[in-house]
Structures are given as structure tokens and as C-alpha cells.
């Protein structure tokens, strides 16, 4: 069963392409892509149990740390790099984003939007770090060490000087729509997640 963001990613990827899913979990997305779109998939995952399950299901997945291992992949080695809900757990999100743009002809990045109204309201009302179904950890135990809002992420995209091909806001009720990069206010307030298709300019 794919998450809502993964379903959107699956719909965005062209058939017969070569995809690397960074932080691929048990390889759910890769499985669907290989089955339905004849994609040549590859994944990196940190958690041993998930890698074991993915490899056991016959996926090409390596147990590795994306903060360390992305450096080994060649420029444009893949048609797509997928970085779905992974950026926030990485030690160096900017370097990770740059590697994604280098390794893939296109990078598809999904971020949890910390600017969502529920988070803002939680902080105002309780004066404490937001905890929700999506962000279920206490601040001292969360693996999510680099939260950002959609606006923050757009700024990072300008910073690394990549072109943003598509911006998609994924809402609470799992509906989604593209939004205007110059006016991200609504998406930043109401989207649970932001999905971006990026390309390197060089």
C-alpha cells in the first residue's frame, strides 16, 4: 500500500526509466514502479529490517546511509532520484539535495510541511513543539532533525540554483494540486506535504 505522496510520485515517473529511491523503506514504491511501469529501480535504506524485507522481495536495495553513500553514485546515473520524506532525517539536507540533482536527471523530493496551520496553532496554543499523527515523536527522540516549511524548501532550491519543474501541495484529505512558486502562502499554510520535481540547471 503506497502512501499518498508515493502514489503521486508513481504517477509522475515515466515508464521504462531508471529510478533511485533514497530512503526507500521496504521498497513499496520501487515494487509498484517495477510492476506497473517496467522501471529499473534501486534503493538505499538505512534500517536493516526494511532492507532485508526489500531484498527478500527481490528488489535491488542496499543497506546504506544516504548521508555517506550518495557521493559514490555517478552524475546522471538515473532518470529520477526520489527523496520522499527523507530529507528531514538527513544530517546535511543541502548536500543531499545537490547529490539528488547530480545523480538524477530529475529529482522528486517530498517534504513534510512544518508550516502547516495545525503545527503553527499547536505551537501558539501549547507553547510546545508540535506533535501530531504525522509528527509523532517528542522533540528529544525524533529522527526528524531538519524540519522545514514549503517556503523554506523553496528558498533552499533557489540557494542550490535548481529549476523547479513542478510544485505540488498535498492536503489533509489527500487531494493535491500544483501551486504557484511566487505565491506559496496557501500551500505553506494548508499543505501537509510538498512534492517538488527539480532539475539541475547545469
Amino acid at each position: 500500500m503506497l502512501r499518498a505522496d508515493q502514489q503521486i510520485i508513481a504517477s509522475l515517473i515515466e515508464p521504462n526509466s531508471k529510478v533511485i529511491d533514497i530512503g526507500c523503506g521496504k521498497g513499496e514504491l520501487l515494487q509498484i514502479l517495477e510492476q506497473d511501469k517496467n522501471v529499473r529501480g534501486h534503493g538505499i535504506e538505512l534500517e536493516y529490517d526494511r532492507v532485508a524485507e526489500a531484498v527478500g522481495q527481490g528488489l535491488s536495495v542496499i543497506q546504506g546511509d544516504a548521508d555517506i553513500d550518495l557521493v559514490h553514485y555517478p552524475d546522471n546515473g538515473f532518470d529520477y532520484t526520489v527523496l520522499a520524506l527523507t530529507l528531514q532525517v538527513m544530517k546535511d539536507p543541502k548536500a543531499a539535495l545537490q547529490h539528488c540533482l547530480r545523480i538524477g536527471k530529475q529529482a522528486i523530493v517530498v517534504i513534510p510541511n512544518f508550516g502547516h496551520i495545525a503545527n503553527r496553532w499547536y505551537l501558539i496554543k501549547n507553547g510546545k513543539m508540535p506533535i501530531s499523527r504525522q509528527l509523532s515523536y517528542q522533540w528529544y527522540e525524533t529522527p526528524n532533525i531538519h524540519f522545514c516549511t514549503i517556503k523554506d524548501f523553496l528558498e533552499l532550491c533557489y540557494e542550490v540554483d535548481c529549476s523547479i519543474e513542478q510544485r505540488i501541495a498535498l492536503y489533509n484529505n489527500k487531494s493535491h494540486k500544483c501551486f504557484d512558486g511566487c505565491r506559496p502562502f496557501g500551500a505553506n499554510l494548508f499543505a501537509k506535504q510538498g512534492i517538488f520535481i527539480l532539475k539541475s540547471k547545469s
Binding site: 529499473r40 527481490g58 542496499i62
Partner: protein
């Protein structure tokens, strides 16, 4: 059906039948890395399952240092089950209903393939130390002659653990078009200083045994059983982990309630190692042990490719699966990762898993469910990919 051959084993030189043998390099000699050549040499092998009509379902199995061709059938000398019997058979990970598994004894071995205890045709006595030093590359070239004589152009998969994994990686580097898939288990792209050190201890133990007789023990009717046993005892410790040893033996005493203030095997671990050493000498040739450990010591794929491991694999389209075990300090996961990184640098199809286990290097020979599952997943996917 090729002829079977009888060879002699152990200090008593007891005879045992080592199964089917094929003679290779009949037309053109096999040229070794050292420059020496072998012509018309024997290779012993076992097969499991049957080869399909288009010869596309063959799996080449590469054994470890002291393994042999008896992977899924009882060993003719010891009577013990094959070393991967739990993985090979109908509906097992290496399903003999679907695949044709070829399991040869390596060059330099002592179970029927040409090795130092064979008769040197130019002197009519055993080769002993006149046997040329061989390499992992030589072993692979000899295996290539075997698959050629079986008229298999492209193997479905090459699988090996430990030294067998080295052979699998060497196959990928030196014959990149000869296989669809490589599964290299508990292995390394080179022998480390620590690995060489332990091998040297083993070799010196054999050489220091007066019964070794400068390598001519067969001619002299002697046998360096003590030296070979010590070599095995040392090596055996490197196949286990501290945690595993602690759990299995701890400081428990052997059939006694207190220590005896002597050098008898007071501790269970001592008794266990002595048994391992003793049973090993019954089945393995001391000179073979010298030659095969040397071949492993010389192994360094990167060095053979301009110091860059990725150069070794840049021409291969094969799918790779590397598996390490967390407590394996002889072939630690960091070694396999170098191969993974080299393959990643060409965006190759590679899976890698470091399985949590306290069984040390030996884990690859044991029933580790996650290992079996991962190998099965890899075999199924890669066979699907080529329409098998």
C-alpha cells in the same frame, strides 16, 4: 558419465571416491598467472538439477577455502551433509527443479581437481611443492574451461561465500559477459593484512611440523597432522565471533568440575578446537592448504585494475547481491561495502545487506533465515529478469 576417481586422505592415507571428474585444457594449456601451464588436468565437480535446452539455467557454485564440490550431497570422506544442503534442492533457495547447479572443486584443491597431491607427469611423483603457486584468477580460468566444456556460454548466476565470493567477484571482473548475476556472500575484494596474518600462522604451523618433510610427506609416508590441525584450530577461531564463542562455550569446563592444573583440554572451547583440528586432517591435504591460502592472500581486485576497484566492474551488466554478517570480523561488511560503492559508481544493479548475526564468518554456512530469504529474493528477481 565421466569416470570417477579414488584419492587418498588423512594420516592413514585412506582411499575415498571423489565422484565425477572431467579433464580440461586438452587442446590448449591453461596458463597460470605465475606463467606455469597445465594441460589435460582433472577437475572434480558435482551437479544438482538439470540443464535446460537452451543452457540458460546454470548456477556456478564456488566453495570456500576448505570446502569442496560436495555442496548438497554427503561428503565421501567424512559422511557429513553437504555444506549448503539447506540451500540446494527441490523448492529450496537454489531450486534444483529450476536450476542446474555446478559445484566444482577449485584448482589446487584436494578433492579430485588438480592439486599438489596429484602425480606430476614429468616426474611421476606427487607435485608437492613443485606445484606452481596458483591465484584466484587461475581458479576462475579453470572453472571457465569447465563451463565451456559443458557448452554453457552464459551462466545464470555465480554464487560463492568467503573465498567462493572472491571467485564470484573475480569472474565478474575477468569474464564480465559470462553471467547474468553474481551473489557474493561474506567476502571481500581483497585479502586484508589481518587475513594474510592468520593464513601465515596456519602455514607456518604446517611447515614447522617435522612430518611435513619439506612438503614431501607423501613420498616419505608421513603426514603433518599436528601442524595442519593447529592451522585449522587458528582458522576456526577466525570463523567465529567472541559473542558466539561466549554463548556456546563461555568458560565452561570439559567433563570436569574444576581445572586440572595441567595442559589437558580443561575448557570446552579447547576440546572443541582439538576436535575441529583432528577431524579436518582426515579430509584435507596439508599442501593444498598452503596453496589455497596463498591464492587468497594474493587476491586484490583493485590492484589488478590500476588501483581502482570500480574499473574492475565497469564492463559488467550483471546484477549483484552482496551479503555480509555483522559479527564477521574476518570478512567484515566494510570490505563488501567497497564492492557496493564501486558498483554504485556505475549505477549498477546491486543489493547489499549486512545481516545481524552473532555467528561470525561461519554464518554463511548456517541456516540464517534472513540470509536465505535475501538470496531467494535475489535469485527469483534476476531469473525473472532474464525470463527463466
Amino acid at each position: 558419465m565421466p569416470a570417477t576417481v579414488t584419492l587418498q586422505f588423512g594420516p592413514e592415507y585412506q582411499e575415498a571416491d571423489v565422484g565425477q571428474i572431467i579433464h580440461l585444457a586438452k587442446e590448449e594449456p591453461l596458463r597460470l598467472d605465475s606463467g606455469a601451464e597445465f594441460s589435460d588436468f582433472p577437475m572434480a565437480f558435482q551437479t544438482y538439477g538439470s540443464l535446460n535446452a537452451d543452457k540458460s539455467n546454470a548456477i556456478l557454485l564456488c566453495h570456500g577455502l576448505t570446502g569442496d564440490q560436495y555442496a548438497a550431497t554427503p561428503h565421501p570422506v567424512t559422511g557429513k551433509p553437504g555444506w549448503w544442503e539447506h540451500l540446494i534442492g527441490p523448492n529450496k533457495a537454489l531450486d534444483t527443479n529450476r536450476f542446474f547447479i555446478i559445484s566444482p572443486n577449485v584448482l589446487g584443491g584436494c578433492m579430485g581437481t588438480l592439486g599438489p597431491k596429484h602425480i606430476n607427469p614429468s616426474t611421476n611423483t606427487p607435485y608437492n611443492l613443485d606445484f606452481p603457486v596458483i591465484t584466484i584468477g587461475d581458479m576462475v580460468r579453470a572453472q571457465k574451461l569447465l563451463t565451456k566444456s559443458l557448452e554453457i556460454d552464459k551462466l545464470f548466476c555465480i554464487i560463492g561465500g568467503s573465498m567462493g565470493g572472491m571467485l564470484a567477484l573475480e569472474w565478474a571482473a575477468s569474464h564480465p559477459d559470462s553471467m547474468h548475476a553474481i551473489a557474493a556472500i561474506a567476502t571481500s575484494p581483497r585479502h586484508t593484512a589481518q587475513n594474510i596474518a592468520f593464513h601465515e600462522i596456519g602455514r607456518q604451523a604446517i611447515i614447522a611440523d617435522p612430518q611435513w618433510q619439506g612438503g614431501n610427506y607423501i613420498n616419505e609416508g608421513s603426514y603433518p597432522a599436528a601442524g595442519l590441525a593447529v592451522a585449522r584450530m587458528t582458522a576456526h577461531v577466525t570463523y567465529l565471533s567472541q559473542e558466539g564463542l561466549g554463548q556456546k562455550f563461555g568458560r565452561d569446563l570439559q567433563d570436569r568440575s574444576h581445572v586440572t592444573y595441567g595442559f589437558d583440554a580443561d575448557f570446552q572451547i579447547e576440546s572443541y578446537l582439538r576436535y575441529q583440528g583432528k577431524s579436518f586432517v582426515e579430509r584435507f591435504d596439508p599442501n593444498s592448504y598452503l596453496y589455497i591460502t596463498r591464492a587468497m592472500d594474493y587476491f586484490d581486485i583493485a590492484a589488478a585494475h590500476g588501483g581502482e576497484l570500480r574499473n574492475a566492474f565497469k564492463n559488467t551488466e550483471a546484477s549483484f547481491c552482496l551479503i555480509s554478517f555483522s559479527s564477521d570480523w574476518l570478512f567484515p561488511a566494510t570490505e563488501a561495502r567497497q564492492v557496493v560503492q564501486a558498483l554504485s559508481s556505475s549505477a549498477a544493479d546491486v543489493s547489499f545487506l549486512e545481516i545481524a548475526s552473532d555467528k561470525g564468518h561461519d554464518a554463511f554456512l548456517l541456516e540464517e533465515p534472513l540470509f536465505i530469504e535475501a538470496l531467494t529474493g535475489f535469485i527469483n528477481r534476476t531469473s525473472r529478469k532474464i525470463g527463466l
